[in-house]
Amino acid sequence: MGKISVYRFLSAGCNGCDVQVLECLVPRYRLAELNVEVVSNPEEANVLFLTGGVNIKGREELIKVYEKINPPKIVIAVGNCALTKEIFDKGYPMVGPPDQIVPVNFYVPGCPPRPQAIVKAVVQILGAKLEDKEDYWATPEGFRGKHEFDRDKCIGCGACAQVCSSDAIDVIDEGEKRVVRINYGHCSFCAFCQDECPTQAIRLTREYHLLTNNRGTAYIMNDVDLLECASCGAFFFPQPQIDWALKRIIEEKVPKYLEFKDEILDAMKLCLKCRREIMNMKKAKKILAELSAKARGS
């Protein structure tokens, strides 16, 4: 491919991504070395960079601009707004993401993606080479990039989904498993999930080259076993969370409950539905009453 002429289009984002694209022009980011220039008219462009989630008003403009781009008409969505509308997902004027309106070839997740991520994406798309220079791709410590699950630590409690600022985390119970899925293509990289996770199972890593041609794959996930109800056999609660809670309550907080561990576990093995049923309720109450009497007595 000869000269790459990029036209920038923004509708309904925060500006951040557009500024990052602009910053790519700085010689340090070496976009020029790849024979890439940014042009000011869609008629002169053959590559379109989209940022923002597109609202009602931007929609028609986007269609107009798209039509004017010359072949090969490569469309690259930059930033999570352009992937999924991110934090603005439920905003009433939003009609995007842009791939609902015009065809999009590539996606660069991030909020905003670093200029290096955009440059690397261009390099990969073109199949070009950019000589590695020292520190060029390096991130500082504490950089908030793609997440990493510690599968052994995650207890499936869903606290991360509760605090997530952008509705980026799904908690889905399927059969005997609970799936926790972090859609980093929907994420604002606020790191609230990392802060709130009770077992430090989520960590935001320094990985930021996240180019993809299918935004549906921009996620990481983990699954945990669900506990089976002792009465009806339904799967209803993450097993590791029960273990964790028991450990915390009995071993760390109230050690004198330790000897009744099995009884407590039995009481916890009933699903919500069964607990509501009178018979079981009575049984459960009885177990608990016995437990507390014993605990007081000892």
Binding site: L10, N15, V19, L22, V39, K57, P112, C164, S165, L204
Partner: protein
Amino acid sequence: MPEKVYVGPYRPQLVEPERFELLVEGNRIIDAKIELGYMHRGIEKLFTTKTYMQNLALAERICGICSGIHTLCYAQTVEKLMNIEVPERAKYLRCVYMELERLHSHYLWFGILAHSLDEHKAFLKIMVERERVQDLLEYLTGNRMNYLINTIGGVRRDITPEKAEKIRRFLNGSKPLSDYIMELLNDNGGFTRKTKGVGVLPREKALEVGAVGPTLRGSGIASDIRKDDPYAAYGELDFEVIVENDGDVRAKALVRARETYESMKIIEQALDNLPSGEIVAERKEPKIGEEFGRTEAPRGELVYYIRSNGTNIPERVKVRTPSFANNFAILEMLRGETLENARVIIESIDPCFACTDRVTVVDAKTGERNCMCLK
């Protein structure tokens, strides 16, 4: 016969999409209107669907360029609602982060100004040097923009002595860039020629249209929330409110250029006098009621109003951004100017339409859609 000329919405000189309708006679602009809406995202409605904590990330995304000050203003207003006493150290750290943001925002503005004046060399030089602020912010906060450094009750990351050292080194390296910009504005090159006497906003007009920030200070009025209604640690730090009297584009540029030195001064002092202690206080339940908060964003006074019904989700959040206040000034400044100057005049208030794009007001009597667009 006057003719209508449109600038935008998708034109390269403007960083963001917006459309200006200019009524032109000969080469003179006789009237101007702004049409916004390309950036509207329904943020104020979204605020009422998220918790106080989650809203931090949303507030920051009102505008990616001055994202930090949005979280600060929001957090300070929520802190009033929750009756939280912010630790002293956090207050000083907030000043450091926010002044770094002012530096990056002002430098970006100079880059864009150079771009709209077709001073390509200056544009590149400023943008190259500006990268140092971005690197520093990324190093301190973990992201180049949308750093989410302020939180309810304090800040999220501390500045260790090692980091402070790095900031000091950065400041020393930044002065030459500010000097370079001052030079551009004072020699008789393109910068001075193309901005002097252009887009004058007289003092009285500036007050009348309610301009804020550097746009107002460029017209001879010393108004700065950091001094007038001190927040964070600004009350204890020594700095000057920069004022220029000419009211033209150059005056606004000079205000910003001189302000970069003041920002450096503030950061140095804050680092020298950094109190020890916690960096964040515990969150509490919000009271039932309403609060109002304001801060000085790089572009001027930023206002948040939050009403709480005692739950963990706000009932109403209203944001008045500086660019909204300044839009009226653009219209004033454009009238009577030549068409060639329109671009630099629009840029001179450092418009941030992501901030401004909110609602279109339609005159009910005439059905005329007016330029009053809020975020």
